[in-house]
Symmetry: C2
Subunit: 331 residues, 2 copies
């Protein structure tokens, strides 16, 4: 608290500008947002809860902000990026598994026949997940993610996946943190898939990443303790699982939540139902030119029920085409 106040005080003294709403770094806040309704709504909310003495004031420890990842902080087309990681891992591991050439869904995947892969349904996908996301230590898995994310590229944009994070959302993370918020990811994506790069990319440390997880097993290998990733699900952090993930990992109800699909609906409902000021926002993918345009009919990131509920409840909806000056951090 004292530290934060000194930073705020420093901004006033050195820069001669009011402390509230100004990122500590001195960069213009929310510079990639157009001056349309969502930006005003965000700023109004932050000013409302940070104003000392106001009835809506929220103490710093309670300023919890949760963000979905896929489609909210980075893109998710043409397939969830973790799916692309899984495909690349199967290819990389194939030389050690000659039997995969004649075993589905591996055989189809290795031939590049995605329809054949999907024909195996959920059972086939679980086999691919088990082969690529379990059976190794947590450290080995983390390294495979770090290596992949450093170079892998999206087939639609030719950009690295890591360069397809949304600049306006990264500025929003900075803006909230500069105002005393603690920012968390709450994603259906794998917790161990996001942690290796979330800190450098979003400024969100591993302990503030909530995601889907598998069970772990502690054991001694050659006298050294390791944690083995097991092929059993611990938490599916999606839909009804998101409030469960929030309570289990954070233990405190957020006062603001950001999502983009029906998978985020329960997280938004859970956030909105708390007492005191709340702010819920949905990113609507409306920009086919600069990014992708999809909503009610999409298989990836379907936004249907949550869009209706946003309208009924007055949640803020970002129209990417209208509201964002810039899309990707690499633009």
């Amino acid at each position: 608290m004292l530290g934060r106040r000194l930073v705020a005080l420093g901004s006033v003294l050195v820069l001669g500008i009011p402390a509230v709403g100004i990122p500590a770094a001195g960069a213009p806040a929310l510079g990639s947002w157009n001056d349309t309704a969502p930006k005003s709504a965000i700023v109004a909310f932050v000013e409302r809860v940070t104003k000392q003495g106001s009835t809506d004031f929220v103490p710093v420890p309670e300023r919890i902000a949760v963000f979905d990842n896929d489609g909210t902080l980075w893109a998710e087309q043409p397939v969830y990026f973790q799916f692309a990681f899984m495909v690349d891992r199967v290819k990389a591991l194939a030389p050690e598994h000659p039997e995969w050439k004649s075993r589905e869904p591996f055989a189809s995947l290795l031939k590049g026949d995605m329809k054949g892969v999907l024909a195996g349904g959920e059972k086939g996908l679980m086999e691919l997940m088990a082969a690529t996301h379990s059976g190794m230590t947590t450290e080995e898995f983390g390294r495979s993610v770090s290596d992949w994310i450093a170079t892998a590229k999206n087939p639609k944009t030719g950009r690295r996946y890591i360069d397809m994070t949304y600049q306006p959302m990264r500025e929003l993370l900075d803006y909230l943190r500069a105002n005393g918020f603690k920012t968390f990811i709450v994603s259906g994506g794998g917790i161990e898939f996001m942690r290796p790069w979330a800190e450098k990319t979003y400024g969100i440390p591993p302990e503030q990443v909530v995601g889907s997880s598998g069970k772990l097993k502690f054991e001694m290998r050659d006298g050294k303790p390791v944690l083995i990733k097991l092929p059993e699900i611990n938490l599916v952090d999606d839909k009804e699982g998101k409030p469960v993930g929030i309570q289990t990992h954070i233990g405190r109800r957020p006062i603001t939540a950001f999502g983009n699909s029906d998978g985020d609906l329960q997280m938004l409902q859970w956030t909105a139902a708390g007492s005191g000021p709340r702010f819920c926002l949905i990113v609507h993918h409306t920009d086919a030119e600069r990014e992708f345009a999809y909503d009610r009919q999409s298989h990836i990131g379907r936004l249907d029920q949550a869009l209706d509920e946003a309208q009924e409840r007055g949640w803020t909806v970002v129209d990417m085409k209208r509201d964002w000056k810039r899309v990707y951090s690499s633009d």
Copy 2:
């Protein structure tokens, strides 16, 4: 970072004392510790990892410290305090459950016959846990804990349980935080049992409390979302479960760990096995006069294997009688 540096700078300017090792509040660090080996070892470790430019320097985000709770941050005799809470809850709920009068282990508990309760073994205890720790919303459970902890007293000391936290350990938490450490509880106790009071008591917010947990279920009740505590185990955060809890909740290996029993052994091993400087400490209950004396033969907080391993590996062992000037925060 900047905030912390300003606080440290402030200490130097205002108090004329070196910033490292000085709590932000300006109080003497570790004042309830005698000037014996454990205090020196703690201070030496902290100075080593916080010294800029040294090869052992650890950046602030990696300064993760984990603390067991029962027997490490507060007492655990004559029974774990959460057990006492459970007993009191059964008594409080009994009027709504007339059938308990003739059903074990409830009948024995209501008659005050603890031997009869324990005769039911693990199955009986699980029934008591289910009846008192599930079937309600997370908010209802949190209120029952807050109400209980405010007044409930330990039968041996006549003190409130909340007043049986260890003053030297609270100073240690403050000292580590003043030096850029993030402090976590990693306890076999219930995560939802500790969260309602850990922030006020230890300065540890809910999102930094790791503990045993049950499964949760999201549902709508009269149009309001709630999380129901189910009578199913999610994580037993003890022994091999502690490194699992650390990885799942924190996602980063601690550089220092504090425990008091064999239940903490794997957490200490996991911490010690990381690369770079590490500090592991065990609180040994040696003071029958001011607290309780127990170790290898105790049913509660047995310290046997971990005591041997501490000696082999050179971990610091606190002799409460010798090393602590003061025991309870309420002394």
